[in-house]
Amino acid sequence: MSYFGNISKAFSTIATGMKITFRHFKNARKPDGIFTTQYPHKAVPLPKFSRQQLHNRIEDCIGCMKCANACPVSCIYIETVKAPAGTLSDTSNGQKRRLYLTRYDIDMAKCMFCALCTYPCPTECITINSDFNFIKFERKDLLYKFSDYSPEQVEQIKQEAKLREQQEAAEKIAKAKAAAEAKLKAETEAKAKAEVPQVEAKTEEVKAEQKPETKE
């Protein structure tokens, strides 16, 4: 490019650029001249489905672990204790709740906001909402605890469950004993019926053996 061509090109392109910037400068006073907003005073509304924070409606949660399994980074921690039938109310969409949720924690520090946990939930109790403002000063505060039991209650529930378990185990043992006795009885009866054709006796024996196993 020629010497003077360079100069004229420089002047013309610089003038075009400066015209554009000046247009923006002039338009800054117009209502849509400025794009940014003053955030804490005026926030841009987020769409309804914006993925910001996980929330669990604990009264609807059945503790099925599907969300915890779906999480790619394992940030959902669930511990459950079996509840006696009828003690817990049903969920809002009519599912039976059979487990005490002694722990339902979501570690938002670990969460990657993919919302994969919300899709498999059968009761739609784990949701991701658009509340983005959850600044915390301590990292441990980002561990959100959703379980509505206090530590004492959890302790109590666990003990009760333990007791129930022991009871059930005792019952089981008793049942097993009874079953064994029944079996013994059956065997003696079978022996007594030894004269009866053998095919019949064998089937009886099989049945007696199967009984205690199925109960466990």
């Binding site: 100069i7 610089i14 923006h24 400068f25 001249g33 907003t37 003053q38």
Partner: protein
């Protein structure tokens, strides 16, 4: 006689205030201008009221709405910062550098003619003094880059030195034309020569000196003004010639290692230098404190002359910012090309043109 003494005293005080105030106002302006050019809001939160509230810890004053006190608050913040001297730095030079840079700019303010009686140091070689003292700052920049023991800093300082030394030449030559027309180096007399209607300004030739024939200097004076303006951008390290502190290349150039108040001093000095550079342009080309309308000047409204002067300077400062937020940055070799291949030949041409005019037409 007494009257002049009093005015001189007042003007010295005004100048002392002006240096710091100019820096703060320019920084605020820069932030706002850049924001508006980029469809942003710029500083909005820290008004004088909110700043006072924050200092006294109570909500007594009305909160600001357009962030007027932002640069003041920034300055206060920088004051509280830790003063870090990097390991391996030359401590004495490291601490001396910002003072020299600031000192050079500050000293240049002394000779600026704000109004007829508002010249703190009315020396008869004012122009020469300002050119000499304001390029003194480059020593400080070189010191800063060398002393901070940082490779980016060193590169920035070397670039800056090369740039400033080269651009002194077109600046000097382009201003010599004016000196030739006026026949003086005193800034005050130069401004006095431009009084009256605005066509008396040197930007439009030498009408006030030689009558209508002076109009033949109009094109060369325009070129001179453009060259001076471009060079003053380079002298003050402003975009598109901000290669010594090119933030995307050299991190921050020569002040990479500076923190807190030392950094703030560099910053203030930069804006002070911009003011001085544009003040010379206003003084020499744009009629200084003259409004360009004789009726207004003769009305003798107190304080209007310095106001006109400062307004003119800030209009030019706005153009400087406007250029900065529009244009990309040149490369080092292109910067030198521009200076040696384009600016210097043109200034030499205008210089000869004015010489011929002076010898044969007057």
């Amino acid at each position: 006689m007494d009257n002049i003494l009093v005015w001189t005293m007042i003007s010295i005080l005004v100048m002392v205030g002006l240096v710091s105030v100019v820096g703060i106002i320019s920084i605020y302006l820069e932030r706002k201008v850049s924001a508006f050019m980029q469809d942003r809001l710029g500083p909005m939160e820290v008004g004088f009221g909110s700043l006072a509230n924050a200092i006294i810890g109570k909500k007594t004053f009305k909160e600001g709405r357009i962030g007027l006190a932002q640069s003041l608050a920034d300055g206060l913040k920088l004051l509280q910062k830790e003063d870090i001297v990097p390991k391996g730095a030359d401590v004495f030079l490291f601490k001396l550098a910002p003072m020299i840079v600031f000192g050079g700019t500050f000293a240049a303010f002394a000779a600026l003619p704000l109004a007829e009686y508002f010249v703190p140091a009315d020396i008869n070689i004012g122009l020469f003094y300002i050119l000499a003292i304001s390029s003194f700052g480059v020593t400080g920049i070189l010191m800063a880059g060398w002393a901070s023991n940082n490779k980016w800093g060193l590169l920035g300082a070397l670039r800056s030195t090369a740039q400033m030394v080269s651009y002194e030449i077109p600046i000097g030559v382009s201003l010599i034309s004016i000196v030739m027309i006026c026949g003086t180096l005193s800034l005050k007399e130069m401004v006095l020569a431009q009084s009256g209607w605005f066509w008396n300004w040197h930007l439009f030739g030498a009408i006030s000196h030689n009558g209508a024939i002076g109009i033949v200097l109009l094109p060369v004076m325009f070129i001179n003004f453009l060259i001076y303006f471009t060079c003053s951008l380079a002298e003050t390290n402003r975009a598109p010639f901000d290669i010594p502190e090119a933030e995307s290349e050299l991190v921050a150039g020569y002040h990479t290692e500076y923190t807190g108040m030392r950094f703030a001093i560099f910053f203030l000095a930069e804006y002070g230098a911009i003011f001085v550079g544009n003040a010379i342009a206003v003084t020499l080309f744009l009629g200084g404190w003259n409004s360009g309308i004789p009726m207004l000047d003769e009305a003798n409204i107190p304080g209007i002359a310095p106001l006109i002067f400062i307004t003119k300077v800030f209009v030019l400062i706005f153009v400087v910012m406007w250029v900065r937020w529009t244009l990309p940055r040149l490369r080092v070799d292109q910067l030198m090309n521009l200076c040696w291949k384009y600016l210097i030949p043109f200034t030499l041409f205008t210089f000869f043109y004015v010489t011929i005019y002076k010898v044969f037409l007057t």
